[in-house]
C-alpha cells in the first residue's frame, strides 16, 4: 500500500524539490553576508590606512589593493570548511537529500566567489582611478590575467576562479573531516588544498606562481587557455567533493 505526502495545491513535485536548494542557498548566503558586510568596509578601511601610512613616508610605487586579495581567500576557505560541516547534516536532518544540499553549496560557493570578485574589481578600479589622478604607478606585483586596474573582465574571471578554488578546498577539507574523522581528515589536508594550489599555480597570481613559472621555464599560456584549464581543474575537484558528500553518513549525536 503506497501513500503519498500531500502536495500543496499548485506546486508540482519538481518545483517542490527545487525549493530545497533555494532555501539552503539563501541560508548559506545569509550566513556569509552577516560577516561579509563588515569585512568589506573593514578591508577598504585597512587599504586606505595602509595607503596613507606608506605615502606619508615615501611615494607609492605599487598596487595596495592587490595585496588586499590575500585575506579573502582564507576567509572563504575557512567559511567553506565550517559551513559544509555544519549545514550539510542539518539539511539532511530536515529532509533534504545530500545531492540537493551539494547543489545548494555549489551554487552558494559560485555566487559568493563572484560577489567577492566584484568587490575586488571595484577596489582595483577605484585604486587605478586614484593612482592615475595622483600620478602614482599602479604596478602589479605578480602576474595576472589582467593588465591594469581597468581590465575588468579578465580581472573578474581571475578572482572568481581563485576564490572558488579556495571555497572548494575548504569544502573538501570540511567534507574529509566530517566523513573520515580527525585523523584521516588531517592526513587529507594536502589533498584538500590541491585545488587552491593548482589554481594559484595556473593563474600564477600567488607568491609562488611566478616562481613556478620561472622554475619550469614555460612561457605563460594565453588567458583563455588558463581560464579553461582552471575550470577543468575545479570541475574535477568538485567531482571529488561530490563523491565525498553524496552518500556521507550523518553522524549520531549522543
Amino acid at each position: 500500500m503506497s501513500t503519498t505526502t500531500p502536495i500543496r495545491p499548485g506546486l508540482g513535485s519538481g518545483l517542490r524539490l527545487a525549493r530545497a536548494e533555494v532555501v539552503i542557498t539563501r541560508r548559506l548566503l545569509n550566513e556569509m553576508w552577516k560577516v561579509t558586510r563588515w569585512l568589506w568596509p573593514a578591508g577598504v578601511l585597512v587599504a586606505v590606512i595602509v595607503g596613507i601610512a606608506i605615502s606619508s613616508v615615501s611615494p607609492i610605487t605599487q598596487s595596495i589593493w592587490e595585496n588586499a586579495g590575500q585575506w579573502p581567500r582564507w576567509w572563504l576557505f575557512a567559511m567553506a570548511i565550517a559551513l559544509v560541516a555544519t549545514h550539510l547534516p542539518v539539511a539532511v536532518l530536515h529532509g533534504v537529500t545530500r545531492r540537493a544540499a551539494i547543489r545548494a553549496v555549489t551554487l552558494s560557493g559560485v555566487l559568493v566567489s563572484m560577489a567577492w570578485a566584484a568587490f575586488m574589481v571595484c577596489g582595483h578600479v577605484v585604486e587605478q582611478f586614484i593612482y592615475d589622478r595622483l600620478g602614482w604607478p599602479d604596478v602589479l606585483d605578480t602576474p595576472h590575467l589582467f593588465r591594469d586596474g581597468y581590465d575588468v573582465l579578465p580581472m573578474f574571471a581571475e578572482y572568481t576562479l581563485i576564490f572558488l578554488a579556495y571555497v572548494i578546498s575548504g569544502g573538501l577539507i570540511g567534507g574529509f573531516y566530517y566523513r573520515f574523522g580527525w585523523f584521516r581528515g588531517t592526513l587529507l589536508i594536502p589533498g584538500g588544498l590541491l585545488p587552491a594550489v593548482a589554481i594559484e599555480g595556473l593563474l600564477s597570481t600567488g607568491w609562488y606562481g611566478a616562481g613556478l613559472q620561472q622554475g619550469l621555464s614555460v612561457s605563460r599560456p594565453s588567458a583563455p587557455v588558463l581560464v579553461v584549464a582552471s575550470i577543468v581543474v575545479l570541475s574535477l575537484a568538485w567531482q571529488v567533493l561530490y563523491l565525498v558528500l553524496r552518500d556521507v553518513q550523518i553522524a549520531n549525536k549522543k
Partner: protein, 300 residues
Amino acid sequence: MTGFQVQAVDLSINYGNTVAVDRIGFTLEPGKIHGLLGRNGSGKTTLLSVLAGLRRPTTGRVLVDGVDPFENARVMAGTCLIRESGDLIATDRVGRVLDFAAALRPDWDADFAAQLIARFGLSLDKKASALSRGQRSALGVVLGLAARSPLTMLDEVYLGMDAPTRYAFYDELLADYVEHPRTIILSSHLIDEIERLFEGVLVLHEGRVLVNDDADAMRGRGASVTGPADVVDQFVATLIVDGVRALGAQRLGSTKQVSIFGDVDSDTRLQARALGLEIGSMPLQDLFVHLTDSGREILR
C-alpha cells in the same frame, strides 16, 4: 489513512566491527503510533538513522512508503527524525529555526507551530545555544509535530523534560495525531507514562527484534502470579506446558511472585483464584524490563 509504512527486510547495520542491528525484519503499519523500545545500546537509534536516510544499512534493506529512503527526495522530505540532542545550528534563534523548518517541510503548519511554542513557553528570540535541555527537547517536539510528516520519529525527546512539559507533549501529540493521523515512532527506554499512547510495540534487544506486536495484546500477555511458593510453582508449571514463559521470580518469605509471559485466558485466571493465587497484570514497562533482563528471545 495517511502515513508511511515502514519495513525492514533482513536488515543488519554495523558500526565498524560492532553489529548494532542483526538481521531483523518487521513491518510497521502506517498511520499508527508505534513504540520502539529497547535498552541503551539495543540498536534503536541506529535503526532510526537508517529509516531517516542518515546512513545506509550494512546488509538487507529498509522500505519507507515502499521505497529505499536513502537519498529519496520525496520520502526524506516526508520523514522527520527528532533526536534528543536537538539538531540545530547553535547560533540560530528559535524563530529562525522554525522558519528554516517551515521552508523545508512540505506539510508544515505554522499556526500549529505557534500554538505549540506558546504551550511550551518558548521564546522566539532565544538563541538555540542558550536553551536549557528541557527547552531544547520542547523545541524538538515543536519541530517534530508541526512538520506533520507522514513518518515522524521522536527519539528519546522527552527525557530532558520536566513533568508538566511531558504531559503537555503527550496531550499535544495525541490531539494532533487524532486530527492528522500519520505514522509516529516514539523511541525510548523509559515508557511508564507514554506507553498508553502506543498502538504497536517493537522491542529491540541486542540488535534483534524481541517483540513486534499490538500494544494491547502485549499488555494482556504479561502477568504476575503471587501466592504460597509451592502452589505458585505448581500452577506456573502447568502454564509452561501450555506455552507460557516464566520470566523471573521473587521470593519474600514463603510467598513467591513469578512473572509470566503468554496468553492466560479467563478460565485459567479463575483457576488461579480458586487456588488462592493472585494474578495481576503487568504494565508494559515491567514486562519490558523482564524481557530484556533475561535477554531471552521470545518468539512471536
